[in-house]
Structures are given as structure tokens and as C-alpha cells.
């Protein structure tokens, strides 16, 4: 079986192609490095039967790389907007029929997604990137980034690690809480780490998130900025 007969293209910087979808594992390397690695991987596998096939395969692979990079950028934008508290921008990154799983709850459709980000996340300033709590620094292998683009290049999935603040507004009607809220605070914070998985779809407006699920692996009562020396 040659690559051209496959039902899908596979690009992996570590392994020869063998799955139905292209798969890029990324541990911080730049796209160029990934591309170079992917090209090298290609050269080591079976040779296409003709120059035209080879060109077509290369085009598909470059397209896949572009799609994977766009999905990664979508996630970067998602993370960045969360970090800056731009929850409206976050909600706009989802399709109208999107679903988000967070904290054991499912938030469906545009309304549900908006409720999650613009109300719940905003109220607790959830999503602000913070470094791992002391003692939890070593990375977990399963927290590596992975992006997979479907053969038809209209859908993709990804897995990304997160390390962020999760907050809940303080309850109660004491004046201390009321005053803290005026500061934009009054939040009980914790740190969470894990991975979020994305299912994305290519639309006329570019890639959008159709489903996002947070899988928390670690959590701790930790706020950054403390002097630990």
C-alpha cells in the first residue's frame, strides 16, 4: 500500500504515517521545525509512484500543517483572551451549536457558551494563566500539545495543556466582600492544571471551536505572587 492509496494523510514528527489522520505532536518547537521534521519523516517513508503524486502529497501535507497551525493559533487566541479576561471574544470563537464541558457541567449552544464564559468565568476571573503551584512543576506527558486534522481538512481536534486560575465569587453580603468586589476581587481562587480537548470546524469565518472539554488533572489552593524564597 502506498501513501497515495491511503484514506488519509499522516504526518508525525516522531513516527511514520500509520493513522487515519495527520498528527502533530508539539512540545514547543516552532512550526518550521515541525515542518522540517515532517518533511524528513516523509522522505524516510515509501516513495510516491510519480512526481505528480509526490507534489499532491506534499500539497496535502503543507495544507495539513497550515490547518494544524491555524487550530493551534485558535487555541492560542482562546487562551490569550481568557488570560486577559476578554470573555466576549472567547465566546465568539465557538460555533452556534458548540458544547463546552467544564467543572462537570455541559454548556450547550451559543447561549450556554456565553453563560459559561461571560458570566461564570468572568465572575471568577477563571482562565487567567498562572504558573503551576509549587511542587507541581514537572510536566505530565499527557499534557503535551497534540493537533489532529481530518483528511478532508474541514475538522480537526486538539489537546492542549492548561495551567490557570479558577475562581468563584465569594458568597455572602458582608461589607468586606462588597468592597472587595469593587476592586474587581472578592474571588476564591484556586489553581488547576490539566488538558483541554478541542473539536474544531473550518467555517467561512475560519476555524471555530465546536466542542471543548476541560479535564483537570491537578488542583491546589494556590495564588501566584507569593514570595517563596
Amino acid at each position: 500500500m502506498t501513501r497515495t492509496q491511503r484514506t488519509s494523510d499522516t504526518i508525525d514528527r516522531h513516527k511514520p504515517d500509520r493513522s487515519r489522520r495527520s498528527f502533530i505532536r508539539k512540545t514547543g518547537a516552532a512550526l518550521s521545525a515541525v515542518a522540517a521534521s515532517a518533511a524528513a519523516g516523509f522522505s524516510r517513508t515509501s516513495a510516491p509512484s510519480s512526481g505528480g503524486d509526490q507534489l499532491g502529497l506534499l500539497k496535502r501535507r503543507v495544507g495539513n500543517l497550515e490547518d494544524a497551525e491555524n487550530v493551534r493559533r485558535l487555541h492560542l487566541a482562546y487562551e490569550s483572551s481568557l488570560d486577559r479576561g476578554r470573555y466576549e471574544d472567547v465566546a465568539a470563537m465557538f460555533t452556534e451549536d458548540a458544547e463546552v464541558v467544564f467543572g462537570g457541567s455541559l454548556f450547550s449552544g451559543s447561549e450556554g457558551v456565553r453563560r459559561l464564559y461571560c458570566e461564570r468565568f468572568a465572575a471568577g476571573r477563571t482562565g487567567k494563566k498562572i504558573e503551576p503551584a509549587p511542587g507541581f512543576e514537572p510536566g505530565l506527558p499527557e499534557l503535551e500539545t497534540a493537533v489532529e486534522v481530518a483528511k478532508d481538512r474541514t475538522t480537526a481536534s486538539g489537546r492542549f495543556p492548561f495551567s490557570m486560575q479558577v475562581g468563584e465569587p465569594m458568597t455572602g453580603d458582608s461589607s468586606l466582600v462588597a468592597m472587595a468586589r469593587l476592586h474587581g476581587e472578592g474571588i476564591v481562587r484556586r489553581w488547576e492544571r490539566g488538558s483541554c480537548t478541542l473539536s474544531c470546524v473550518k467555517t467561512d469565518a475560519g476555524w471555530k471551536i465546536r466542542r471543548l472539554e476541560y479535564r483537570t488533572a491537578l488542583k491546589a489552593d494556590y495564588r501566584p505572587g507569593r514570595v517563596l524564597a
Binding site: S175, M179, R181, H183
Partner: protein, 599 residues
């Protein structure tokens, strides 16, 4: 002298028309007991501000100027100016409008800071209607444009450099105040001569650094008269030049400039990070945007925006009957289950002491002076006791909690089941000498059904092994006046108690980077139990009506006690435990009290 506390005073809701009519008197310019400066007479200034107005001034004389804002035609106004060091401060209103300008010009650096002020501010960014009498302000930073000279890059700027400083001031008008600057966005002030009572108040404030010793400060008495006090202070010479604008409690216009001389009365320790150099005011460190800010579009904040705590607007006034009905539905004592051994102190009780068993098995009678109550107690176990009024036969069982606040000094509290209005007792009982102080509280004041009333009674215990004195008693104290202590109730909540006078205290919230921010004030009482051990009792009057009653032990830096509050959800009697840090204090006691008032 005003003898109604500001938080109880019903300030007239002056209409825009009334304000306009009253402001007509500003056409004559600000009054001043001191001679105003003529340093600007004959000069012209073009003041350019960042993102704000360009002001073209021509000073025709020592009290007349013309102002053209941007390309608008010039208007003539009366003004006043005062000098302090290299600074000239001039103030004027714009005739025919509700606004004015207060301008600080640095003749050395050519930097300028402009306070644009106005009345009838409409709604704030969160949609709250502002009182028309409340002075609004926008601070513009800029410089004096000098032909042929490049615009300076530096600016005066907001600062935290004054955080913690406190000053006593005496104006050339004879008015004396104590202005405490413990926060970066608010301040405490005590009207030494204007008010009959020694009470402190809090107002939103700005702090602007001119240089190491010159600072511009303002406060607006939001929620009260709405009057503004604005001054430049020199920390070297402890002098000030200032301006006061607004309507007092008699609705009279106050618009005057003044000189003042003062004294630094102390300094509270700032706990802000060491890499905060006073060049920024850093609020909302990592917090969620406030509701108002969330709705605000990106870009500079709306003109006049400031962080103002307006508890009077959110406090829901309930009638005594409503409170009692709510209490019948839910009166939560410690846990809601009166016999539950586990406390659930929540946010305010993350640092409780262990419950004390010092009273377990004891029987005693507490008698309070001046025909105060007499109660017999039998303490059943660490959570339950019985009591009865002396001379009666029926015992009433209550759940209680007790702490050993100092060596063999027990502080216990319980609600009085079945009371109407709902009441509670917090009792300090010194097992070494039998002295006791009870803080008796109940729901409702003459103002609000859900505001706690309280009083302290002093007495002695009759109990086995203790020979209590007949004359010696605990008593009210002013030993804590001026002191500031952090209160870390839990890792999520730290505030500061500042004991401003013998009859009031403020509480201030720490921001996420341990800078002091929003604050509020209320009357309070202080009782000395032993050296370094005090009862502090405060009710957040005209705020949310809740009571904090704690014993603070300066030796252990622990505050322990009880909270009592009521509202639509019912009545709650809970626990408070906090770890403290001593922040230092202000030497202000001698400005206060009957002696200082010549009584």
C-alpha cells in the same frame, strides 16, 4: 458644631436647579482667609493635558482670568491662587456652568495637574444615579506649553507613596482635621472642630505625586454632603494650600481656598510589594472586573470614574417585624444545628482558636452594674450551657462557643433563644479575678430593623474559687486609638482595622497585592480587659447593620469573637477568628476627647 453623625444625617437631595442657583455665588471666586497670590497676574498659560482639554489662560489680575478651552471662545471668571514651594494652585468655576477647574502648576518643571470638577454628574458607569450635590472630578495630567520648548515627558502621577501616612491639619479658617491616608484610593478624616463627636469617616480620594515631598490629595464626601476638599501638601514643611467646594449640611455653598499647617502624626506600615515604587496605582490585581467595568468598553475609563463604596444604596432596610419573621424562618447559630459540634465559620473564621473547655462543669452568677442583668449559668459541656435570670427558676438551654482569649480569660457567646427582637450575648469572663464584661446586642435600631444595637455592661462573677472585686471593673478605653492591625480571617480575606477614635473604627480591604484599597467607617466601642487585651465591638451602621465583636490580644496577635447580623435570609450568629499584624499607628489621641474640645 454638627452633632448628628454624617452617616445618620439626611442631606437634602439638592436638585440641579438648586445647585445651579447656589453656584452663582462662585462668580466672585473662592474666598480665602489668607491673602491670595498675585503671582499669575499679567501672565498667560497654555496648559496641555493628556487625553484632556487644552486650557488657554490669561490672568488679567490677581483675581480675574479668561479661559478658552481648546478652540472655544474665552470666558472670564474670578479665581484665587495660592503658592506653596514651586507650585501655584489656582481655582475657579466657569460662569454659567456647573463646572470649574483647579490647577496645580509646577513652575520648576512646567508640569501641571488639572482637577476638572462639576456637579450634577448624572449616572456613574455602573448606572447609579449620582447626587447632584456630589462634586465629580476628573484628574488631567499635563504641562504648561512654553513656546519653543519641547513638551516634557514626565508627568505628575497617581501614587501609593502616601499610603499609611497620617496628618493633623489646622486651616487658616481655624478648622482642624485629622486626615489619615491609609489607602491608595480612599482616606479617613476626623472633623476635630466641625463635629461634636469624635467619629471618623471615609471618602474616595486621589493621591498624586509631584515630587518626593509634594503630594496632591483630594477627597469627596460621597454618600454624605458630596463636598470636596482638595489640597497640595508639603511633607517637608508640613504645610498645605487647599480648596473646599460643595454644599455643607446646611446646604450652604462652601467655596474657599486656604492655607494650613499641620503635623505628621504617624505612619502605618504598608504591606505592598517592594517593587511597587509609587508610580502606579494597582488595583484589581488579577481579579474579576467589577460589574461596572465589565460593561465598560475598552479604552480609557469614563470621565470622572472613581471607586466609591455606597453602602447606603444597597442596604435593604427592613422593619423590626420583617426581621423577626426572617429570624423565625432562619436563625443560624454557628452551624444552623444548635448542637452541632463542628463549627463552619466560613470566610471570617478561618483562623479560629480551638473551643475552650475552661467553663465546662462550672456554675456561676454574673451580675452587671447599674441595675444591669444578673444571670446564673451552668455550663454543661464544650458546646452547651444553661442560663436563667437570677431569681427565676426555669433554665434555658443554649448552644455556645468559648475561646480562651488570654490566660484564663474566657470569651463566650450565645444567642438568646426565643428573644424578640433576636438578641445575643458575648461575655468576657476573667477566671483569675471574676471581672466580666458583656456585650449585649439585639436586632434593630431606631433607623433600621436589621441594624444591630449594642451596649457594654461591666460587672463581676460569683463563682467558686474566685473573690471578685466590688469596685474594680473593666472599662472603656482609648488605648487603641490610632492603631492599625491587619485581620486575616482566611487566606481569601484580609482587611485592616484602623482604630480612628475612641468611638469609631474603619475597615479597609487589602487588594491582591496587599495594597490598601476600599474602606468604610462606623462607630465602635473599646473595652480594656487586661494590658494588651481588648474587646472591640463595631456595628456597620447605615451600611449592612452587621456587628463584629472580638477580643484582640496584642500578645498573640489574634482576634477572636462573634459576628451578629440579620437580613432577609434570617439572623446569623457566627464565629470570627483572625490573625493580626501590628501596622503601627497614629499619635492622635491628644486631639480627641473632652479635654481636647475644652470640655
Amino acid at each position: 458644631m454638627m452633632n448628628i453623625p454624617m452617616h445618620r444625617f439626611k442631606y437634602t437631595k439638592l436638585s440641579k436647579d438648586q445647585v445651579t442657583r447656589k453656584l452663582a455665588a462662585t462668580a466672585a471666586g473662592p474666598k480665602s482667609a489668607s491673602q491670595l497670590s498675585g503671582v499669575l497676574a499679567g501672565k498667560s498659560l497654555k496648559i496641555v493635558t493628556d487625553d484632556g482639554p487644552v486650557l488657554h489662560y490669561a490672568f488679567k489680575s490677581a483675581n480675574r482670568l479668561t479661559l478658552a478651552e481648546g478652540n472655544a471662545s474665552a470666558a472670564e471668571a474670578a479665581y484665587g491662587a495660592l503658592e506653596l514651594k514651586q507650585m501655584v494652585f489656582f481655582s475657579h468655576m466657569v460662569p454659567g456652568t456647573l463646572k470649574g477647574f483647579n490647577v496645580f502648576v509646577d513652575l520648576k518643571s512646567h508640569l501641571a495637574t488639572v482637577f476638572e470638577v462639576w456637579f450634577a454628574g448624572g449616572k456613574d458607569p455602573s448606572g447609579q444615579q449620582l447626587d447632584d450635590r456630589e462634586v465629580q472630578r476628573q484628574v488631567w495630567f499635563g504641562y504648561v506649553d512654553v513656546a519653543g520648548k519641547k513638551a516634557p515627558e514626565e508627568r505628575h502621577h497617581f501614587t501609593n507613596r502616601l499610603e499609611g501616612t497620617g496628618m493633623y491639619w489646622k486651616q487658616d479658617t481655624g478648622i482642624e482635621t485629622i486626615d489619615l491616608y491609609p489607602s491608595i484610593i480612599s482616606s479617613n478624616f476626623i472633623e476635630v472642630t466641625r463635629h461634636a463627636d469624635d467619629l471618623s469617616y471615609c471618602s474616595p480620594s486621589d493621591y498624586i505625586l509631584v515630587n518626593d515631598n509634594l503630594v496632591i490629595y483630594d477627597r469627596t464626601e460621597c454618600e454624605f454632603s458630596g463636598i470636596m476638599t482638595l489640597y497640595l501638601l508639603d511633607l517637608f514643611t508640613e504645610t498645605q494650600v487647599g480648596m473646599r467646594l460643595g454644599f455643607n449640611e446646611k446646604d450652604e455653598l462652601e467655596y474657599y481656598m486656604y492655607r494650613g499647617a499641620g503635623k505628621i502624626v504617624g505612619q502605618l506600615t504598608s504591606l505592598a510589594p517592594f517593587d511597587e515604587h509609587g508610580k502606579t496605582v494597582n488595583l484589581a490585581m488579577g481579579g474579576a472586573p467589577a460589574k461596572a467595568a465589565k460593561a465598560a468598553p475598552a479604552g480609557p475609563p469614563p470621565k470622572g470614574q472613581r471607586t466609591v463604596y455606597r453602602p447606603g444604596r444597597t442596604f435593604k432596610n427592613m422593619t423590626p417585624e420583617e426581621v423577626q419573621r426572617a429570624a423565625e424562618k432562619s436563625t443560624v447559630t454557628f452551624t444552623g444545628d444548635p448542637n452541632a459540634p463542628q463549627q463552619q465559620a466560613g470566610m471570617m473564621g478561618g483562623h479560629l482558636l480551638p473551643f475552650s473547655d475552661l467553663l465546662v462543669g462550672k456554675e456561676f452568677t454574673l451580675r452587671y452594674d447599674n441595675e444591669g442583668p444578673g444571670w446564673e449559668y451552668k455550663v454543661l459541656d464544650i458546646y452547651n450551657l444553661q442560663w436563667r435570670k437570677e431569681g427565676t427558676t426555669a433554665w434555658q438551654k443554649e448552644t455556645y462557643r468559648a475561646f480562651e482569649a488570654d490566660e484564663k480569660l474566657v470569651f463566650f457567646g450565645h444567642i438568646v433563644t426565643g428573644s424578640n427582637p433576636v438578641s445575643c450575648r458575648r461575655i468576657a469572663l476573667d477566671l483569675t479575678n471574676g471581672l466580666t464584661t458583656a456585650i449585649l446586642s439585639w436586632m434593630g435600631t431606631e433607623y433600621y430593623g436589621n441594624e444591630v444595637s449594642y451596649r457594654a455592661v461591666f460587672g463581676a462573677a460569683e463563682m467558686e474559687g474566685v473573690n471578685a472585686p466590688r469596685y474594680v471593673r473593666h472599662g472603656f478605653t482609648d488605648e487603641l486609638v490610632g492603631r492599625g492591625f491587619t485581620r486575616t480571617y482566611s487566606d481569601q480575606m484580609t482587611s485592616m482595622h484602623l482604630y480612628t477614635t475612641a468611638h469609631s473604627s474603619s475597615w479597609t480591604i487589602y487588594t491582591a497585592n496587599q495594597t490598601l484599597g476600599m474602606q468604610w467607617c462606623a462607630p465602635a466601642l473599646y473595652v480594656k480587659l487586661r494590658d494588651g487585651v481588648y474587646i472591640f465591638d463595631l456595628v456597620e451602621e447605615a451600611c449592612n447593620g452587621a456587628e463584629t465583636c472580638i477580643i484582640e490580644n496584642e500578645k498573640t496577635k489574634r482576634a477572636i469573637g462573634f459576628g451578629f447580623s440579620g437580613g432577609e435570609r434570617g439572623v446569623s450568629f457566627g464565629l470570627i477568628g483572625a490573625i493580626a499584624r501590628d501596622l503601627g499607628g497614629y499619635d492622635i489621641k491628644h486631639f480627641l476627647g473632652p479635654k481636647a474640645k475644652g470640655v
